[in-house]
Amino acid sequence: MIKPDVYHSLGLSDEEYKNILRILKREPTPTELAMFSVEWSEHCGYLCSRKWLKLLPKTGKYKTLIGEDSGGIIIDDLAIVFKMESHNHPSQVEPKQGAATGVGGIIRDIFTAGARPIALLDSLRFGPLSQAYNRYLLAGVVDGIQFYGNCVGVPTVGGEIYFDESYSGNCLVNAMCIGIAKKNELSQARAFGIGNSIMYVGSSTGRDGIGGCSILASNEFKEGEEKRPTVQIGDPFTEKCLIEATLEAINTGYVVGIKDMGAAGLTCCTSEMASAGNSGMDVEIQAVPRREENMEPWEVMMSESQERMLVCVKNGKERQVREIFLKWGLNASVIGHVTDDGLVTIRDNGKVVASIKAHSLTKAPIYDMPSAKPKRLKELNKLRLGRIPKPADYNEVLLKLLRAPSIANKAWVYEQYDHMVQTNTVVLPGSDAAVIRLKGTNKAIAATTDCNSRYCFLNPYRGAEIAVAEAARNLVCSGGRPAAVTDCLNFGNPEKPESFWYFKNCVEGIRDACKSFKVAVVSGNVSFYNESPKSAINPTPAIGMIGILNDANKACSQNFKQDGDVIILLGRCGEELGASEYLKEIHHLTRGDAPKLDLKLEKAVQDTTLEAIEKGLVNSAHDCSEGGLAVALAECCISNEANMVGAVINNLNYDIREDALLFGESQSRIILSCNSRSVKEIDKIAKRNKAPYRIIGLTGGIEFRILSGKKELINLRLENLSKEWRGSLPAK
């Protein structure tokens, strides 16, 4: 007789347990109970989120592929497969291994689809660096990403890092991987065909992360809590061998289906591969290669040991597939076969320890969670500009913003990542979006991750819309046409109506913005329960977006290239200071509303930029984001350390507060620089697209100056700006 406290401690409710009894028509064995508990956990089963995720568009202007574990788009005869996934809780406990195994997991999701991983990006959030533990987390996470990504030979080309008090006690580590394959060489995470073999490949199984998936992912952190036994160790060398062996094996045509053993390990793989293939599976777990002695059947089924996969192999071709894995020094054992009874049958030395309908494991209950707008938001959204004192010295403000860790140059981070291996990175990290060429074609991919979580906290719907719009804008600035999205939705406890309200509104914002850009959401991940004892994190729907450049040679970067170029501002500057980095850093306020977003205006600005870049009229393009116009212009001047180019901005003529003009974060603005000969043509393109267009100054000199009328608001030497912007991040 299984007592309630047992299934409760596995995260199953009374209702869910009754449901299990109804499905089995008997009491579950311990192994079965464990299997249900992980498959029906929020982490694997998406109980709270599934209803809302269905809203996201699955089609867009490019043909989409939605697979079991990842998704992508088709460009000519190529499939571009990508996905972003969180590894927040493991990273908070052990930052190096947590981040490393996060990178490893997302790479496996890509190459099990048959695609060669070609790029990684990381969207990271930490608490303020004034606290020692946050500095430890930043250093550890960066170390984990470099340790894994560099060794495995996939370039880490981009991402973002933000710092905010709400992440103290719950950092976010979201890793994204992009892969490519010939479109007819993709594989699926399915098992079918009676008599086909089920083969286990990769590292041996130990007691790593047992219960990690349900316990680590569905409990809030309590300070000082012991999480020891569930930490997993990453092994990038084995992963590199797995990539080569897997792609070689898929290439033989003998692989029917293949899936990474990620969260919930063998349980997840057996049930989901059988369910997706509408078949059953009979597995003998004594055949599973093990690292530790005396493991219970349920421990083998729950283990989250890294760098393992399950492969469905054509009957009679086991030897050929096995030899490929052995050549790369990897385990490969047949542990079972496909059946037609729809059951996942697990045996231990022949004795059945679990026998469950695959579909019933994978059809986790769907919950309709209550939601409520937080009461304090109404008050927080109020911002009386009249009460915000105007700074006396804008130079000081600009320098302070450039020093702010969220804005400061991130070279200390990305120079620790191998961002050039595979020799495709044509726009290196540090620009709006990285650009990766596709060898054998003229094309290239631009990739970025974006999310301003302060906007989402103050206005989740618009904040999420802006995350999509900004991602698209970043791609456009690099010359890429926005093509498709993956999302990683990080929120607090969904059982709290206020947290769930944030989730719901963000999903709706993503949906509407994606529809407006005609881009599909091809893959994604939800991470709930991101809370520390103090509070939930800011809602953080990280958007990973890829874009397509038809001509890799047209790739554009953000820095001014030479003296004497004309500086053009596309878009409008409004008197908007709400939710800005300026308010937070200078006035210590997180208030007001997120900036307005007009998707028509956004499109006009982006279309103008793209056309100008594609016609070769533009020397640089950079979007205005955190820190506003002044920070964006400063970055244009100094981001190429070897060739800094000054600027004089003397034609802004906006009738708004000076601090709003300089540091306000109005959306849909892009700064272009071009040769004076190209001005007329760009003007024409802007008019045709109905994009607001203004020449605001000229590049040149060794200073960065902004004048408003005769008044000089900013005048700083480039080396001075560069020193502040570059000096702030190494984490001490």
């Binding site: 560099n150 990038p236 990542y417 191998d418 961002h419 291996v421 044509v426 060898k439």
Partner: protein
């Protein structure tokens, strides 16, 4: 003329080197699996960068026991052209085909960025197309590139003009400021006494096309091709 690119488990620049030889230099090339014993027909062997065996014990320490290494030693002994890039350089050091060792970067971090190196010796088969003292912009990407050798060894390297590349500024100034990893005497690349084996930490295969920000690495490959071709003439 034929190139071979050695593949160790954990090599990750093998495909990049292969690509440069095949698609940029347009010369014949094949992969050599680390257990293969057959180098016949090859004129040049490339040991690529990466993390052979994860670099889990010491960089290059396990790879140097791979069966292919004995054959590479024979090949080099007979005057065959061998270039080890990054991890390939580290393997050549462990195997004793080049003198010295690699320590961890002095900043204790992996570093990936473009650096400048000065061609200290352009009278080699790897640098014959470079001008004397030519400055090349080539990226580095390593954790252990802090070259070390004892004082007697360093003197010997200098006496024999075995130091081929040294880290420098964009204008060629060689000083500690432009030393990314703490390498002794800013050493970035050396050859053996016979002059047929080069070890280099920067990655010429990552700087052989304009679209990657520099074509300077191409000079090294081109020099090798040139040498191999004229030798044949």
């Amino acid at each position: 003329m034929k190139f071979g690119v050695v593949v160790f488990p954990g090599s990750n620049c093998d495909q990049d080197c292969f690509y440069v030889v095949k698609d940029v230099l347009k010369k014949p090339v094949k992969y050599v699996w680390h257990k293969d014993a057959n180098l016949s027909g090859l004129d040049c062997v490339i040991l690529p960068g990466g993390f052979s065996y994860g670099d889990y014990l010491r960089t290059g320490a396990v790879a140097r026991f791979s069966p292919v290494m004995k054959h590479i030693a024979d090949f080099a002994g007979k005057g065959g052209t061998v270039i080890g890039i990054c991890n390939g350089f580290q393997i050549l050091l462990e195997a004793g085909l080049l003198p010295g060792v690699m320590l961890r970067n002095r900043g204790l971090h992996f570093i990936c960025k473009h650096v400048y190196v000065k061609t200290d010796n352009n009278r080699t088969r790897f640098t014959s197309l470079c001008n004397a003292g030519q400055i090349l912009k080539i990226p580095i990407a390593h954790n252990e590139g802090n070259y070390y050798i004892d004082p007697a060894g360093l003197e010997e390297l200098r006496d024999n003009e075995q130091v081929v590349f040294r880290y420098c500024s964009a204008r060629g100034e060689i000083s500690d400021r432009y030393n990314p990893n703490g390498a002794l005497d800013n050493i970035a690349g050396i050859i053996n006494k016979k002059g047929n084996v080069l070890g280099i930490m920067p990655h010429p295969e990552r700087s052989s096309e304009d679209s990657l920000g520099s074509r300077d690495g191409h000079l090294i490959f081109k020099s090798m091709v040139n040498w191999l071709e004229t030798k044949r003439l």
